[in-house]
Symmetry: C2
Subunit: 332 residues, 2 copies
Amino acid sequence: MIDEGAAWARIDALARPHRSLGMLETLAVRLAVIQQRLDPVTRPRCVVLFAADHGVTAQGVSAWPSAVTGAMVATIAAGRASSNALARAHDCALRLVDVGVAAALVGPSPDFYRAAAVGPGTADLSQGPAMTVADFDRAWAVGSDEARLAIAAGNAVLIAGEMGIGNTTSAACLTALLAGISADEAVGRGAGADDAMMSVKVAVVAAAVARVAGGDARGAIAALAGFEIAAMAGFYAAGAAAGATVLLDGYVATAAALMAERLAPGSVRNFIAGHRSAEPGHGAALAKLGLEPLLEWGMRLGEGSGALVALPLLDSAAAIIGDVALLSELGG
Amino acid sequence: MIDEGAAWARIDALARPHRSLGMLETLAVRLAVIQQRLDPVTRPRCVVLFAADHGVTAQGVSAWPSAVTGAMVATIAAGRASSNALARAHDCALRLVDVGVAAALVGPSPDFYRAAAVGPGTADLSQGPAMTVADFDRAWAVGSDEARLAIAAGNAVLIAGEMGIGNTTSAACLTALLAGISADEAVGRGAGADDAMMSVKVAVVAAAVARVAGGDARGAIAALAGFEIAAMAGFYAAGAAAGATVLLDGYVATAAALMAERLAPGSVRNFIAGHRSAEPGHGAALAKLGLEPLLEWGMRLGEGSGALVALPLLDSAAAIIGDVALLSELGG
């Protein structure tokens, strides 16, 4: 059993001045405890991008029309989005899973694409439940299957990312519900909402959360979620249950992590927060999970991008605990 | 000519929401301007570690004896130090240059080792000049040669690191002199000085800086420097002059960067600050250079370690400006 004490003892036995690498050592200890080994590994690794549409876009909560979800899915499928570029830069395999995109993917689908739509996008969460509990379970299963596939392929670090116009509205609802913050605190500009959209977004979130609060947790979550967010939650819970190291992305991803922890308590032990995004509710979500982000760079793209930027910090942490001489080995 | 405006125009034409990657985009712009290309490159890259001893250790300013410099040089030569592990993790070539280590390297020297000692360590800077101006020029030339070699080998990103017990005392003197801060502000615990050592260190720094201030700049710098710090300054200046991207490490490295900028003005245009260390004077040194650090992780090891941890952040930045579709290419 490798607990924090055992991991710190290893760090402190290495050939360098005591505690001279700050947060890098803290991260190395977390990796060692998650993986139960003093030489944690970070390769191979993969990012799975889950995409879906959101009925709540009908309320004018987003600067972008729903059709952009399909356009970005096509860009990712063509290997030309920010997430593809970052995954290539860091030797990270990439998968793209349609959990509910309204527009069909035009053209040839690449090997790394999977069609697993639960439906053509969620219902409008401002008018009633975004999805049924049965559909929530289907979307969750898509994600948990992906985690199991990734682990079976030998991946040591799992990242989930998302693409879904409107999904910061869903994330704000879920964060308000699960981290216990107000709609005002939970709502940010997402991919670029203006002031008028922000007012609508706050009102939508406040009303939706008030409508479901107090009910059964799974039902309340399903009423507010997106298909891609439910899939990410399933991915996180299954990844954690199998002992994988799970690296979180931004606000939407952390909403999924809150869901995973609520429905599969203890999952958080395997989570590492890649960054704190520019979305104002993200800090509260991370605090609820007790996680300190590695980077605070004002990133708010999604697509797993923040986690991919943080990924090589895990490589550094693994190197400085697992690949350095012990003081006791020197000068003998 | 690629100025910041041209680089931001490229960023803003990419297929993602406006300014959605925060500091990563700022870093991408800096890379593009340094390299004068909209698809900046970060490979191949190398770290050159310069090692030397310091006569000022006779004053009891360090928690470690001078002999540790030689022991750590041997550990680096054996490929087993933190810097080796981090360089391996990030596909970064490593060179080790003895610019003035008192102890001879015992055992076989690896291909990546170069013996170029200017002397067996500096004189005690508390008693008189640490080195002559002629020796300063020799050490500087060792570093500038290394930069030219690294560039000739095709390296796009250059990192310098250091090993030298006592060198945070020299760095504090240089930072006080060149950034205009007091000895109190410039002195930190280095590799682990206790309170008594700290008092001595502050007194030594204050007296040495007072002694040389007002004289000729090169003479004053030589009187306070270390051989490895002078070599780093030459490395930085020559790297910048040749157009390379120069990634800075911690406090000692930034003292060398201040020297480079003082003696070869304009060098700073090619510098990127990898991190802000736990040493209290580091922030003032970076501010004097007008640089924002990428990470603030409380690292204080030296050996190029902080720059190596930050290095893959440059890979991400290069990827998100150079390897992503333009909005104008989509949906056409």
